[in-house]
């Protein structure tokens, strides 16, 4: 990374004002497995497709959904190894925050610092942009009463741009998934409804049969911790949905 022969930035503007490397990174994301999130009044849910290339892969050691702070978690679409680098950075920066302020990092701050890292990799010399879009779900601090933590869902793109969403999807079939969510999302949705809707949305574009072992679901409730559901918990929700 310190080799002076590659000290120029690989992400340079095209004549039309685009950063083509970022466009191509977004293509890598659009080819990735679907990931979606829904923000409810009392929590947030993330769900993703975890289809593996072969039945021989040991699925219990594959993690797409990761906990970053006790009250927030992240999932991705795109290039897995790039994602793991970002998760490591995010975990470290949130521990630094916690060490200084004695509180869990609010998710909006986590998003800003992660987005900052991703932007850095579009401008620094000798590096390429990250080939992932992230969905970060967690609890934000409001400026009112101490006990009110606000559920929030954010998307972060390879360019470093971030957006707050009520519900969204990224990866393969994200267009039809988002259309489905647009019809189903309501402002008074509770977490249990949101989990059901997330599973239904995921099933819409799923290739083959969706089981508790080839998807991952993560939730965070207001006042609780981010947890990745076990296959048996997912199976209960799937049974209810059927």
């Amino acid at each position: 990374m310190g080799d002076s022969a590659y000290s120029f930035s690989l992400t340079t503007f095209s004549r039309t004002g685009k950063l083509l490397q970022i466009e191509y990174a977004l293509n890598a994301v659009a080819n990735g497995r679907t990931c979606l999130g829904i923000c409810a009044v009392d929590g947030v849910v993330l769900a993703t497709d975890k289809k593996l290339p072969s039945v021989l892969v040991d699925v219990k050691n594959v993690h797409k959904m990761e906990v970053v702070t006790p009250t927030s978690g992240v999932c991705y679409s795109g290039v897995g190894p790039d994602y793991r680098v970002l998760v490591k950075r995010a975990r470290k920066s949130s521990q630094v925050y916690s060490r200084t302020y004695g509180q869990d990092e609010p998710v909006s701050q986590l998003v800003k610092s992660t987005a900052g890292v991703m932007q850095e990799y579009t401008q620094r010399g000798g590096v390429r942009p990250f080939g992932v879009s992230l969905l970060i779900a967690g609890l934000d601090c409001s400026s009112d009463a101490a006990s009110s933590h606000v559920p929030a869902l954010y998307q972060v793109d390879p360019s470093g741009a971030y957006f707050a969403w009520k519900a969204t999807a990224i990866g393969k079939n994200y267009v039809s998934a988002k259309n489905f969510l647009e019809k189903r999302w309501t402002s008074d949705m509770e977490l249990e409804d949101a989990i059901h809707t997330a599973l239904l949305t995921l099933r819409e574009g799923f290739e083959g049969e969706m089981t508790a072992h080839n998807i991952e679901v993560g939730i965070v409730r207001k006042g609780g911790k981010f947890e990745v559901l076990t296959p048996s918990q997912i199976q209960d929700y799937l049974d209810e949905a059927n």
């Binding site: 060490r99 302020y101 004695g102 509180q103 400026s143 009463a145 101490a146």
Partner: protein, 204 residues
């Protein structure tokens, strides 16, 4: 000669019913010479939060500026006020960063949290902090202040009673200390605002 008593100071903070008060003397000395009688040692960092800094005057001012810097950045980034507990943790971290060349201050944090409940804490010069429900003291006559507070404090005082308790505790404590006194100031913080009063005491 102790560096913590080079300039002289006395600060007390007490909790009342849905209110907190913080009182400090006004003396700035250079050993035996009194140089100023209106030196500020209590700083309103936020509408419902005060920080009191006792110790070496240059570090009082520097640490105030440093805290102002960090709290402003926090407010800009997080779009919310810093809760008193977080101010306490931040101060603790800032002080420990200088563990082997410390700031010679012993701060007090006094304020109302987001639910308007009183918050009090004090710490030593390297960041070891302790929270209290009743009162905290810091300065060159802590022995005197502890005695006075223990005698005059009662739980759940209203703002006027709290003012009396704070003012009497401070004035009597500094009268037996050569390095502190020369006037006093008391701030009472309630959810509706801050009431500040100057104290008339022995100017010696």
């Amino acid at each position: 000669m102790s560096i913590m008593s080079y300039n002289g100071s006395a600060i007390i903070a007490m909790a009342g019913k849905d209110c907190v008060g913080i009182a400090a003397d006004r003396r700035l000395g250079i050993q035996l010479k009194t140089v100023s009688t209106d030196f500020t040692k209590t700083f309103q960092m936020q509408p419902k939060l005060f920080v009191g800094l006792a110790g070496l005057a240059t570090d009082v001012q520097t640490l105030h500026n440093l805290l102002e810097f960090r709290m402003s950045l926090f407010k800009l980034r997080e779009e919310r006020d810093m809760p008193p507990e977080v101010v306490n943790n931040l101060l603790s971290t800032l002080l420990y960063e200088k563990r082997f060349g410390p700031y010679f201050v012993e701060p007090i944090v006094a304020g109302l949290d987001e639910d308007n409940k009183p918050f009090l804490s004090c710490m030593d010069l390297i960041g070891s902090s302790v929270k209290a429900n009743d009162f905290v003291v810091s300065g060159t006559c802590t022995g005197n202040m502890f005695g006075m507070c223990e005698a005059l404090y009662r739980p759940d005082l209203n703002p006027d009673e709290l003012f009396e308790a704070l003012a009497q505790s401070l004035l009597s404590s500094v009268d037996r200390d050569a390095m502190s006194g020369w006037g006093g100031v008391v701030h009472i913080i309630t959810k509706d605002g801050v009431m500040t009063k100057e104290l008339k005491g022995r100017m010696d």
